[in-house]
Symmetry: C2
Subunit: 150 residues, 2 copies
């Protein structure tokens, strides 16, 4: 029998926000599976920021990654418990907690990076490198414009 199932409704297929969401869902499925049992995407973002910018306050981490301050807290504390980060009060500013990447954290970051890289290849399998670059450039322009508008 195997009657052909209906395809995605045209109204949805034509909707940019819907297409983007479908892609994001696929990307998250792949990366979450790749990261299963290690860390969340959010934690990877925090590690990446600390690796690039060195010891930072939690507020700064939140700003450069787009993660809410309150969500940074939970990510940081669980990674402190796992030995990937260290926290110390800022001598110059009593409000700030300076977060530092430990060697174990750096190692962990590299592990996660490799796992995520594989997921990216799987995700973009259908596109040539040039096409991938073009798509990402366009997406980045959309994101940048949205941040300007805000």
């Amino acid at each position: 029998m195997n009657r052909a199932p209906h395809p995605t409704p045209a109204r949805l297929r034509a909707l940019p926000s819907w297409v983007i969401n479908q892609t994001a869902t696929a990307a998250n499925r792949l990366t979450d599976r790749a990261l299963a049992g290690t860390s969340s995407r959010r934690q990877f973002a925090i590690l990446s920021a600390l690796d690039e910018y060195g010891p930072s306050s939690q507020a700064d981490l939140g700003r450069c990654t787009g993660i809410d301050r309150s969500d940074v807290v939970t990510g940081v504390t669980t990674m402190v418990e796992r030995g990937f980060l260290r926290q110390r009060p800022d001598a110059a500013d009593g409000r700030r907690n300076i977060v530092t990447l430990t060697p174990e954290g750096k190692e962990h970051l590299e592990r996660l990076g490799a796992l995520i890289a594989d997921a990216q290849d799987e995700l973009l399998r259908a596109l040539s490198p040039a096409e991938s670059k073009m798509m990402l450039d366009l997406l980045r322009r959309v994101v940048a414009d949205d941040q300007d508008a805000t």
Copy 2:
């Protein structure tokens, strides 16, 4: 003072899945604001499918929209309560509930469609129509390939 805040870490900016997620977040912020107080994106998807394919079983609705059966249930029941959908058992198959779009539902769909269309324009403001089309075509290929792989 106003020291420049750190930009997004290069590791993240270079990550396709991260860029896609940022775009999806922006898209959802815009569409959710546009739809505030009316319906969810999921409900719009269900309405779109019913409008295009006519009365359908809930399982079919789930399949063509990519929404889980269990999530279709809640969307359908709330829209039945609001008078946008009607449910009747399938005479030919005792398991199926045939869902039908009411005239009020069709009206509601058109209202939502207009609201969402505005949000799309806002989202893609930075791109020319040709660029938007190119981006969406590439995204659709990624999604299609992912569905093949599954």
